[in-house]
C-alpha cells in the first residue's frame, strides 16, 4: 500500500520526463516501422500510414501507458479541477454566496471561540502562561449577587509572602498616579502616568525581562537604586520617541529625580493595567514619591510544585480571616465578608466574578458561534443540494455517454472539496487578519487574543465536511438513477425527494437565522441603550476634576491622623482660596475621597408603614457619596425638593444616629413612588454594618451624574462630608476648561509642591469611558452586523435559488393559462409558509439564547423580549418574501416557450 502510494507520487513527480520519453520512444518506433514498409517498395506517405495503422491509436496507447505508470489519476484530477472551475464560473453569484458564507461563517465562529478562549485562559499581555503562576485575589461581599475585589494591607500581603509552604515566591504591587516632568526643554511637562510600585521579585515572578535595560531593584541598604524606573513600551514611544539611549536618563516624577533603568517588552502592561503611560518602580521608592496608601496591595505568586490553587486558597482564606479579626479588634473599617482566593493568573481574573462571568460569557458567545456555524452549514448545504440537482441533466448525459459512476462522483467530490478548501483558506486569512488588526489597533487591550487551534480546526473541519457531504449526496442520488428516467424527467419520485430535501434545508436555514438575528439585534439594542443611559452633562468641558492622593485614614492612629490632617488640610485650604481667585474659575468645591463612585454602604429599608401606603417595605442597596455643601452648586445640579447640605448640618446631626441624605429623583421615584420622600427615613437592613446610621431625606435633586455608571442594584445617596473628607476639588469654569489646566498645575506646584494631584476635565474622563465603551461596542456590533448580513445573504440565496429552480414549473403553469399574478402569489405564499415553519422552530432557541445573553450582561437594561423577537421575525419574513418574489416574478414574465426550450 505504502510502496504503491510512494510509486504514485514518484510517477507524478517524474510525469513530465516520462511523457517526453514516451513520445520519443513512440516516434522512433513509427519511424523504423515506416522505414520497414518503405523498404518493401511503398511510397513515403503510404509507408507512414501503414506504420500508423500497425501501431494503433496513439492517443489511446498513451492513455494506456499513463495508466500503467499510475499517473492517470493526476491528469484526471487536473481535468476535474478545470471542470469544477468552469462549473462554478457558470453560476458566479451562487458560487460567490457559498464561498462568502462558508468563509465568513467559519471565520466568525473561529474568532468568537478564540476571543472567549483568550479571555478565559490568557494571562496578561507579555506574560507567559504557566500552570504555577497564580493571582492571590482579595474579595469581599458586594451586595446580594456577587463579590467585589479587595486590595490587601501591607501586613496581609506579607502574610501571604510568608506562605512558603505553598508558594515559591509571592510578588506584590501597589499603584499610584504620578506626574512626570521631562525637564524644562521637553515637550512633555506635567504628564500624568501610572506607576506600579513593585516588590523586587515582581519581574522574576511574572518571568518578564525588560526589552532592554535592567529591572529596577530597590533596597534599603542601597538607596541609590531606589529611584529607578522601568517604563512601558508605550511610554517609551509616547514620551521618549523610542530614544535608544533612554537607559540612565533622569526624569522628574512627582518632583523626585528618577533614573530610567529599562523599557518593558512591547505588550507588557503589568498584571492589570489600562492607561497609556505606565512605569514600574521599586516598592521602596513609594515613600519618596507619594503618600502611601497602605491597604492597596495586590499580589501574584508561583505555586510550589505539587501545590494546587485550592490548597493555596485554603491557606490564604484563613489568613484573610485572621486579618479581618485583627482589624475588628483595632477598630478599623472593614470590608464585608473578606476572603482571599488563589486563582490562575488570567488577565481578567482579578475580578472575583471572573469565573462566573466566563461561564456565562462562554455560554452566550458559544451559542452565538454555534448558530453562525449552523446557519453557514445549512446555507451551504441548501445551495450545494440545489447546485448538484440542477445538473441532473448534465450528469445523466455523461452517464449515457459511458462515464463511470465513480468518475462522476469523483468529479462532484472534487468540486465541493475545491469550494470548501478555498473558503477554509479565506476563513483562516480573515481570522489571522482580524487578530493582527486587533493587536495593532488596540495596543492597550489588556488581553492577548490568540487563535484557538482546537476550535479553529473543529470549525474548519466541519465546514469542509459539510461542503463535501452535501456536494456529494445529491450526486450519489442522481447517479444512482436510470439514465433514461432522468433524461425524461419522468421520475416523480426524484423530484419529490429533491424538493423535500431542499425545502427541509430552507426551513432549517430560517430556523437558525431567526435566533441569530434575535441575538444580534438584542446585543445591538443593549449596546445602544447602554450609550443612552450614560447621559453626558452639557457642561462637562467646563468642569475640572482635581484628585488628590490621600492616605487612608483607616490604618493610622488618632494622633497620626490628626497631625497628617492638619498638614494636609492647610495646603488644601490655601489651594482652594487660590483656585477660587483664578480668572475663569466660577466655583470651587471640595470633593470627598472616592469621588465620584462612592462607597457601597449596604442594604437599607424604608420605614414600615410610616411612608409607604399599605405598609410595605422596600429594600435598596445603597452607595453613598459624601459631598461638601458647595458640591451641588458647582455642578449646577437642580434641587427639586427640600434643600442640600449646609454648614450647620454637622452641628445639627452630631452625636445622632441619623444622618441627613440628599437623593436623586430616580431613587425617590423608586422608593416612594406615591409619597413625599422629604423627611422619610431609611434604616439599615439587618445585614448592614451595625454602626451604620439611619438616613433622613432632606432633599431631592436631579443629578444625571448620580445615574452614570451606577448599576441598578446600587442606588446613590449623598451624605454630608466632614471637614476632614478631602479628596480634591471640582472647579467650574466660565469657558471650556482645557486651556486653564497648565495654570492650575502651576498653582498646585506653587502652593503645595508636595501634593500629588491629578488634574483633568470631566469631558476627558467621560471621553475616556466612552472611547473604551465605543471600542468594545464597535467590535461587537461589527461582528454582529457581519453575521446578520451573512444570514440575510444566505437566506436570500437559498430561497431565491430554490424558487429559481422551479422556473420550468412556473413556465408550465403560465403555458397552461395560469394567471401570472396568481402564480407569483402562489410561490410567495409557499415561501412564507416555509418561513413561518422555520420561525416557529427557531423560537425556542431564540428565547433560550436571549435568556443566556441577558444573564451574561448582568445588569442589562429592560429589554422587551417579544419586541426584539417580533422585529427579528419580521426581518426574516421580509427577506424570505423578497427572495421568493423576485425570481418567481422573473420566471413568470419570461415567455414559457423560451423557458421550456432552454431547459
Amino acid at each position: 500500500m505504502m510502496i504503491r502510494a510512494l510509486r504514485r507520487v514518484r510517477a507524478a513527480l517524474l510525469r513530465r520526463r516520462h511523457e517526453r520519453e514516451m513520445q520519443e520512444e513512440m516516434t522512433e518506433h513509427l519511424e523504423r516501422a515506416s522505414a520497414r514498409f518503405a523498404a518493401r517498395g511503398m511510397s513515403q506517405a503510404e509507408a507512414r500510414r501503414a506504420a500508423e495503422r500497425e501501431f494503433g491509436n496513439v492517443a489511446w496507447l498513451q492513455e494506456q501507458a499513463r495508466d500503467a505508470r499510475g499517473t492517470a489519476w493526476l491528469d484526471a484530477l487536473l481535468g476535474d479541477l478545470r471542470y469544477a472551475l468552469r462549473q462554478y464560473a457558470r453560476r458566479p453569484a451562487t458560487t460567490l454566496v457559498m464561498f462568502i458564507v462558508l468563509a465568513f461563517g467559519m471565520g466568525i465562529t473561529t474568532l468568537l471561540f478564540s476571543f472567549v478562549h483568550s479571555y478565559a485562559t490568557q494571562p496578561p499581555p507579555g506574560v507567559v502562561l504557566t500552570e504555577d503562576l497564580v493571582r492571590i485575589r482579595g474579595s469581599r461581599s458586594a451586595g446580594p449577587d456577587g463579590r467585589g475585589s479587595r486590595p490587601f494591607s501591607e501586613d496581609e500581603f506579607r502574610a501571604y509572602r510568608d506562605l512558603t509552604g505553598h508558594f515559591s515566591a509571592v510578588a506584590g504591587w501597589t499603584a499610584a498616579t504620578v506626574v512626570i516632568d521631562l525637564g524644562p526643554e521637553a515637550a512633555h511637562r506635567g504628564v500624568e502616568a501610572r506607576v506600579t510600585f513593585v516588590t523586587d521579585n515582581y519581574f522574576s515572578v511574572l518571568d518578564v525581562r525588560p526589552q532592554f535595560g535592567f529591572v529596577p531593584i530597590g533596597s534599603a541598604e542601597n538607596p541609590s537604586l531606589i529611584a529607578t524606573a522601568v517604563v512601558s513600551h508605550g511610554t517609551w514611544d509616547a514620551l521618549f520617541g523610542r530614544d535608544p539611549d533612554i537607559v540612565g536618563k533622569v526624569i522628574s516624577v512627582n518632583g523626585v529625580s528618577v533614573a530610567i533603568a529599562g523599557v518593558a517588552p512591547e505588550r507588557f502592561r503589568g498584571v492589570a493595567g489600562w492607561g497609556r503611560l505606565l512605569m514600574w518602580m521599586p516598592l521602596e521608592a513609594r515613600d519618596l514619591l507619594v503618600q502611601p496608601a497602605p491597604d492597596d496591595f495586590r499580589a501574584a505568586g508561583r505555586l510550589l510544585p505539587g501545590v494546587t490553587p485550592q490548597q493555596a486558597s485554603a491557606a490564604a482564606a484563613s489568613i484573610a480571616r485572621t486579618h479581618a479579626a485583627e482589624a475588628v479588634i483595632a477598630g478599623q473599617s472593614l470590608h464585608r465578608d473578606p476572603s482571599t482566593e488563589v486563582v490562575p493568573l488570567r488577565s481578567a481574573s482579578g475580578d472575583p466574578m471572573f469565573e462566573r462571568d466566563v461561564k456565562w460569557m462562554s455560554a452566550a458567545i458559544g451559542l452565538l458561534a454555534l448558530l453562525v456555524l449552523l446557519v453557514t452549514c445549512t446555507n451551504v448545504s441548501a445551495l450545494l443540494t440545489g447546485f448538484a440537482t440542477a445538473r441532473r441533466h448534465e450528469i445523466a448525459i455523461r452517464l449515457s455517454l459511458g462515464a463511470a459512476r465513480s468518475r462522476l462522483i469523483r468529479q462532484l467530490l472534487t468540486e465541493s472539496t475545491l469550494l470548501a478548501l478555498g473558503s477554509a483558506a479565506a476563513a483562516l486569512a480573515i481570522v489571522a487578519g482580524t487578530m493582527h488588526a486587533v493587536r495593532v489597533l488596540i495596543v492597550e487591550l489588556p488581553l492577548t487574543p490568540q487563535i484557538t487551534w482546537s476550535a479553529t480546526s473543529f470549525t474548519i473541519a466541519l465546514g469542509i465536511t459539510v461542503g463535501m457531504l452535501f456536494g456529494l449526496s445529491p450526486a450519489l442520488h442522481a447517479t444512482r438513477l436510470a439514465v433514461a428516467s432522468v433524461l425524461r424527467d419522468a421520475s416523480a419520485n426524484l423530484v419529490a425527494t429533491r424538493a423535500r430535501l431542499q425545502r427541509g434545508l430552507v426551513v432549517a436555514q430560517i430556523a437558525f437565522t431567526q435566533p441569530l438575528t434575535v441575538l444580534v439585534a438584542a446585543l445591538l439594542v443593549l449596546v445602544v441603550t447602554q450609550l443612552k443611559t450614560s447621559p453626558r452633562s452639557p457642561m462637562e468641558d467646563r468642569i475640572v476634576i482635581m484628585t488628590a492622593q490621600a492616605p487612608e485614614a483607616a490604618s493610622m492612629t488618632n494622633e497620626e491622623q490628626a497631625s497628617s490632617e492638619s498638614s494636609r488640610l492647610e495646603p488644601a485650604r490655601l489651594l482652594e482660596e487660590r483656585l477660587a481667585m483664578m480668572p475663569g474659575v466660577v466655583r470651587v468645591a471640595r470633593t470627598a475621597p472616592r469621588w465620584p463612585a462612592g462607597v457601597r454602604i449596604g442594604g437599607y429599608t424604608t420605614e414600615a408603614g410610616a411612608v409607604l401606603a399599605g405598609g410595605a417595605q422596600k429594600v435598596a442597596a445603597l452607595s453613598a457619596q459624601p459631598v461638601h455643601p458647595e458640591y451641588f452648586a458647582a455642578f449646577d445640579v437642580p434641587v427639586l425638593r427640600g434643600r442640600t447640605f449646609s454648614s450647620e448640618d454637622e452641628a445639627l446631626f452630631s452625636g445622632s444616629r441619623t444622618a441627613p441624605a440628599v437623593i436623586d429623583q430616580a431613587l425617590a421615584q423608586h422608593l416612594w413612588p406615591d409619597a413625599d420622600p422629604l423627611g422619610a427615613v431609611l434604616r439599615p437592613a439587618t445585614d448592614t454594618a451595625s454602626n451604620a446610621p439611619s438616613l433622613i431625606i432632606i432633599g431631592v435633586v436631579d443629578d444625571p451624574a448620580a445615574r452614570r455608571g451606577v448599576d441598578k442594584v446600587d442606588h446613590f445617596v449623598y451624605l454630608p462630608a466632614g471637614a476632614a473628607d478631602y479628596g480634591g476639588f471640582v472647579l467650574r469654569t466660565a469657558a471650556p476648561a482645557a486651556p486653564l489646566l497648565p495654570g492650575i498645575r502651576a498653582v498646585i506646584q506653587e502652593i503645595a509642591p508636595a501634593t500629588v494631584m491629578g488634574v483633568t476635565t470631566l469631558e476627558a474622563i467621560a471621553d475616556g469611558h466612552e472611547r473604551n465603551f465605543r471600542m468594545a461596542a464597535g467590535g461587537v456590533s461589527a461582528a454582529g452586523l457581519v453575521a446578520l448580513l451573512l444570514a440575510a445573504l444566505g437566506l436570500y440565496a437559498v430561497v431565491a435559488f430554490s424558487v429559481g429552480q422551479r422556473t420550468r414549473e412556473i413556465a408550465v403553469r403560465v403555458a397552461l393559462g395560469g394567471h401570472r399574478r396568481q402564480i407569483v402569489a402562489h410561490f410567495v405564499a409557499d415561501g412564507l409558509r416555509l418561513t413561518a415553519i422555520g420561525l416557529l422552530i427557531g423560537l425556542p432557541i431564540s428565547l433560550v439564547g436571549l435568556r443566556a445573553l441577558i444573564s451574561a450582561m448582568g445588569d442589562a437594561p429592560e429589554l422587551s423580549l417579544s419586541a426584539v423577537t417580533a422585529i427579528a421575525a419580521l426581518g426574516v419574513l421580509t427577506i424570505a418574501a423578497a427572495a421568493a418574489w423576485l425570481p418567481a416574478r422573473h420566471a413568470a414574465n419570461v415567455d414559457p416557450a423560451v423557458t421550456l426550450r432552454s431547459d
Binding site: 510509486r7 510517477a11 516520462h18 520519453e21 514516451m22 520519443e24 520512444e25 513512440m26 516516434t27 522512433e28 518506433h29 519511424e31 523504423r32 516501422a33 522505414a35 500497425e54 501501431f55 494503433g56 491509436n57 489511446w60 496507447l61 494506456q64 501507458a65 495508466d67 500503467a68 505508470r69 499510475g70
Partner: protein, 111 residues
C-alpha cells in the same frame, strides 16, 4: 479462429514473453515486436498498444531497467534489460507456466 486464439493466449502471457525475450537479449520496444513475430513464425503478433504499457508496467514494478542507446535511425532509443528482480520474476512465471502447460497437456491427452 486460430489467430484469435493465439492472441488471447498471448494476452495472458505477454509479461512472460517480454521478460523471456529481454533476458535473452536486451532490446528496445520496436525490435521486441519484430522478434515476437519472427520467433513465433508469425503465429503471435503483439501491437504497440499492448507492448508499451506492458513495458512501463514492468519498469514501474522494478523488473525492467533501461539504458539509452543510438538506434539505426540515429535517434536515441530505450534498450530494456532485466533487473535481478526481473530475473526472479521470470523464473517464477516460467515455472508457473510449465506447471500449467503440463497440466493442460495431461488433460488434452485424455481421450
Amino acid at each position: 479462429m486460430y489467430g484469435a486464439m493465439s492472441q488471447s493466449f498471448l494476452t495472458g502471457t505477454l509479461e512472460l514473453v517480454v521478460l523471456q525475450l529481454i533476458q535473452a537479449e536486451p532490446t528496445n520496444g520496436y525490435d521486441l515486436t519484430l522478434r515476437i513475430q519472427a520467433i513465433s513464425k508469425d503465429v503471435l503478433s503483439v501491437n504497440a498498444g499492448s507492448l508499451y504499457p506492458a513495458l512501463y508496467r514492468l519498469e514501474e514494478r522494478g523488473l525492467l531497467k533501461f539504458t539509452w542507446q543510438k538506434s539505426e535511425t540515429g535517434r536515441r532509443t530505450k534498450v530494456y534489460s532485466l533487473t535481478a528482480a526481473g530475473r526472479r520474476e521470470l523464473a517464477a512465471q516460467r515455472a508457473g507456466w510449465e506447471r500449467f502447460a503440463g497440466a493442460l497437456a495431461a488433460i488434452l491427452k485424455v481421450t
